[in-house]
Symmetry: D2
Subunit: 211 residues, 4 copies
């Protein structure tokens, strides 16, 4: 970030990956990943699904904990004050669009939660799961960058995990909000990396564990 | 918001104010509000301090609950992984820059908390205080729009309060991130309003209570 | 409570019911309520189920929010460090004993959550639901008094709700721990009442709403 | 625990200590530890202070993270619905009885928090501090066993830490509630150990680290 922010030391201290990663997969439900639905199928989200599938394959092979979520509600009484009628009308338990995209979901491996707010770490038990799994580094994947990814990244930081956001594993309906939000979190809370960085990090962990 | 977002119904459902407001004042500590400090004195933040002072005067007269916070730590062990050396080196208990700006602080009226993450509602007891005060609507003030205001707004929404962000009571080091973040939260989580809207809302409550 | 506690003013200040109750129903899953299961069918729990069913009938008629939970896990990886092999081996998603007892469950009315810790208010979204429903008073029902009821009562207090525990709507495997825990919370956190008290409270609210 | 509980497998699975302990010290403020105050100076609490001082000396030498808390409020508006007038009238910021007992407090080493509810892990940031310090095992010390120690033990378990309660490092106004609560948590959530066990555990960690 140029200008005032850089002059004010924002972004000058990298986080760095830790000893024990965990992955969160945020809202890759069909409503966002399947073009047949009104909020579905944006190119950046499609790219993120494909890359996250590769990341998860490597993670599960290595035994890295994975938490996978969708967002849905019993009815309007339960919802926060969403300003999006498309969310209010379809993010419901019995709606087909809330199913997990099969490309990124392994029911027998992943911790599965249904979240109610933007962040997968808010009131879901995922933080406690990561405590038990001794996770110190959270890798954030999913959508949308300017919505639930932003919220999740903040919560990962606030819970004092090291936080990595692989930019090609998170997606948005549009490119500008995607970039704006990576900019904001990248100078404050998280390292912005990519799929290849994460795969190399896993390979490094694998070799160290094998020694 | 134009483009894909508007077509996808983002922002089409206003929140609206509720029956019992509460105000949060985020990080108006001297480090952000006094030009003598490296992160201090941006014009948008200066404007936000002046307007928030007016808002708080009306709020306290009406008995509206106020929670006021700064951010600081005992030492580096306690901090989340901040990427900003200016924060790491000065947001410390004994540093003069963490004092509350006197223009917005009333020690005998405001609930005072020291937060550790970006959001004033994260692990501070403010949510519980608002539950006891029966608050249903949170008005977000403070700085920075692209940092702790964004985080606070998300948490207010996630805790299922009605959320109002008066745009002239929140500030940032630069204008673009200020606008970008109001855009993101305004189509999802909160109504973007202004000081005059909030003052009229308070006046309306006062008249209803007087009846 | 006699002795030191009473001399030290414990229990001298009643809580009193508020303007807007909500009910939590804790762990009336078949494993605790059906005698065919190893932890099932204790007389105090049976009594609590019968009384809670009456309480819920009145509550639903009046529109009082209800949150109903069971406790179960995907597998041992997800569990906290339970010291009870009966819990570790049967509180699992696919085990028949985790089904809600039909006497106390209304799927279309109750907010339904699966909790992971002892308290129904820990990381479940129920607190946020109650914020949205403007609940100020939590009525605690379920089992066991010396386990999840104790934990829930503490959390209701800590979240700064008014807390009522109708003693004939909570149950335990044995009478002594039941009494001990009502004693502890009754001098600190909650009013110990009974079904009839709650029904009269609801009737009083109904009449006031009708005026 | 005999009777139904033992027959139902309660307490049959020990927790065991983990790789990285942290200590919480709960409410050893003068109001509980100094006989000049109405709630102060019970023999079990005096014993707990003396033993906890020894535990902390060993812990600080080894670099074990310590979180130390008191409980107090700005005024009655901020309090949960305490049923104890002695708490309501004296647990206030400016009251001398809320000072930490100097025997157990090291301001430059311990993370210091002021909690508002019974548990030191509720809304205080201590969980996040322990995440950053990679703690997997929480040792609970302080008072009272039937109040804030019970609450803290539940929260440690719910957050999925391994939990140890050294019984001679926790105290109560009376012996019966002390025993009752150790019984309840010992069959469900935590290993009941003692000071010597913890010192041996620390010594074992020291030797392993030295290798």
């Amino acid at each position: 970030m140029a200008g005032h922010y850089a002059a004010q030391t924002y972004g000058d201290t990298p986080v760095g990956p830790g000893a024990r990663p965990g992955i969160v997969v945020v809202d890759f439900q069909l409503g966002f990943t399947d073009p047949q639905y009104p909020l579905g199928g944006a190119p950046l989200i499609e790219r993120a699904v494909a890359n996250t599938a590769k990341l998860l394959e490597a993670a599960r092979r290595l035994g890295v904990p994975v938490a996978n979520c969708n967002t849905c509600y019993m009815d309007a009484r339960e919802m926060p004050y969403w300003k999006i009628s498309g969310v209010r009308e379809t993010f419901l338990y019995d709606h087909p669009s809330v199913a997990f995209d099969p490309r990124i979901y392994d029911k027998s491996y992943d911790l599965t939660v249904t979240k109610k707010g933007p962040s997968i770490l808010f009131e879901t038990g995922v933080v406690s799961y990561f405590i038990k799994q001794r996770v110190d580094t959270v890798i954030v994947t999913g959508c949308t960058t300017s919505g639930c990814i932003r919220a999740t990244t903040i919560d990962s930081f606030a819970n004092r995990f090291r936080t990595l956001v692989p930019e090609d594993c998170v997606g948005d309906h549009e490119e500008q909000p995607h970039k704006d939000n990576l900019r904001d979190v990248g100078v404050r809370y998280a390292d912005i990396v990519d799929l290849d960085f994460c795969l190399a990090y896993f390979e490094d962990l694998r070799q160290r564990n094998a020694e």
